[in-house]
């Protein structure tokens, strides 16, 4: 830990939510435009969070906010680990902690809607986690280590060798951002049979925490896409942005599907294309230069 590292960490801590907030604002703006509306101001997510923080802290269970804090700090940790080029497998596990914290937070409120939402989100884990780990495996196969250093230092883009995993990751991104067609556990704006799913009983500061964590999560998830073309940061960032935009468009042209359907999709199509990709890497033995 030298000064540079600390500076970088602080930069991430402060910068990520700003980027995430703007990204979320852009999302809402673009969604509105796709729907032929004007939409909210760009900084609307910021206003929302500010408002939520100034509201009463209404809870059903005094400990429910603990879980969302865990969610937040672990999202931040996984983002920091990504930035500091840590072990990718480890990052995924840390990220799982965050996801689970949110699920358990939802469950802990005891509200029936939150519980049904959480159990659907658990099923979401079942569909995306294998893909994430296979992604990690692909990195290992390409670089000989799970540490991200090699990927970030490589001179050629990973996308060349992992196109199928890239496709799978786009779907994972869609699941993780809880965008249509995969907004079955909670949905940001669209109306849902589960009310607000996992977050039904969260309001005020607790919900603000979730929103802030979402900001970090946006950055983290697009960071995962960035890795596919980390050799050229500009293209990498562009790739992240394109993926993000793509998901916004998909969000607007699909209906919500069932988690059962998603599970099937992921265990049949996503897993298989990922495994095919992995198998290719094994057989060809290519290494990232």
């Amino acid at each position: 830990m030298n000064t540079n590292d600390i500076l970088l960490a602080v930069l991430v801590l402060i910068g990520a939510p700003i980027i995430g907030c703007i990204a979320s604002g852009i999302d809402r703006k673009i969604t509105a435009r796709l729907q032929g509306r004007v939409g909210p101001p760009l900084l609307q997510p910021y206003y929302d969070v500010k408002k939520l923080l100034s509201k009463d802290n209404m809870v059903v269970n005094p400990t429910q906010n603990f879980y969302v804090i865990v969610y937040l700090v672990f999202i931040v940790l996984s983002l920091l680990m990504l930035v500091f080029k840590q072990d990718f497998l480890m990052i995924i596990f840390v990220y799982t902690v965050a996801s689970l914290a949110l699920i358990v937070g939802g469950m802990s409120t005891g509200s029936p809607y939150a519980r049904v939402g959480s159990s659907r989100e658990i099923m979401a884990i079942l569909s995306y986690e294998p893909v994430l780990i296979l992604y990690a495996l692909a990195i290992y196969l390409l670089t000989g280590t799970f540490k991200l250093t090699a990927v970030l230092d490589a001179s050629s883009p990973m996308l060349m060798y992992t196109p199928l995993i890239f496709i799978a990751m786009i779907v994972v991104l869609n699941i993780k951002l809880k965008k249509s067609p995969f907004d079955y556990s909670t949905s940001h704006h669209g109306h849902q049979e589960l009310v607000k799913g996992m977050t039904t009983e969260y309001g005020g500061p607790g919900f603000a925490t979730i929103e802030i964590a979402h900001f970090y999560e946006y950055v983290f998830l697009t960071g995962l896409i960035f890795l596919f073309w980390a050799s050229n940061p500009i293209i990498g960032v562009l790739l992240g942005i394109i993926a993000y935009l793509l998901i916004i468009v998909i969000d607007n042209i699909t209906a919500r599907v069932y988690w059962q359907w998603m599970l099937k999709l992921s265990w049949s199509v996503l897993l298989i294309i990922s495994i095919v990709n992995i198998a290719f890497l094994y057989v060809s033995g290519v290494q990232l230069a």
């Binding site: 206003y47 408002k51 039904t200």
Partner: protein
């Protein structure tokens, strides 16, 4: 100004004929696009700021109204939309109608009409915003509305 920029509403339809409801929904649609003001129709009272009530109150939904009101964290504003919600409207002397929403919970602003135009509802939301700000500044809390007329829970 933080509250005024992000009013999240919860729409409670109590005894409405749908006329008002569909106009409330219409406010969110592209032509009127209430989201320009940051309005979101949020599902749960726990995250709402403005309670938009349409329709008069009847005996079955008194408790619903009170419960939802109590579950909105402060500061909160209640907006009564339509003649029914404001005064009971044409139904004010029906046997099963208690009256306007203000018979049950405190109402901060009213929107006239049967049914009100979406523009009028947007006016109401804008009016609610400043009330919201004032409540925050003055730290005015909504009183917990007690449930009257308890019904004995059977098979409890």
């Amino acid at each position: 100004m933080s509250l005024a920029k992000s009013p999240w509403i919860i729409h409670v339809n109590v005894n409405s004929c749908n006329g008002c409801d569909i106009e409330v929904v219409a406010c969110l649609t592209p032509l009127y696009d209430a989201e320009r003001f940051g309005v979101l129709n949020i599902g749960t009272p726990k995250q709402a700021d403005i309670m938009v009530v349409t329709g008069s109150v009847n005996y079955k939904n008194v408790n619903v109204l009170k419960n939802i009101y109590n579950q909105i964290p402060d500061p909160k504003v209640v907006l009564a939309v339509g003649a029914c919600a404001s005064t009971g409207g044409i139904f004010h002397d029906c046997y099963n109608v208690v009256g306007g929403v203000d018979q049950v919970i405190p109402v901060d602003a009213y929107v006239p009409g049967c049914c009100p135009r979406p523009e009028a509802i947007l006016d109401g939301v804008v009016a609610a915003l400043s009330i919201l700000e004032n409540k925050k500044k003055g730290n005015i809390k909504g009183k917990e509305v007690k449930l009257k007329g308890k019904e004995v829970p059977s098979n409890a």
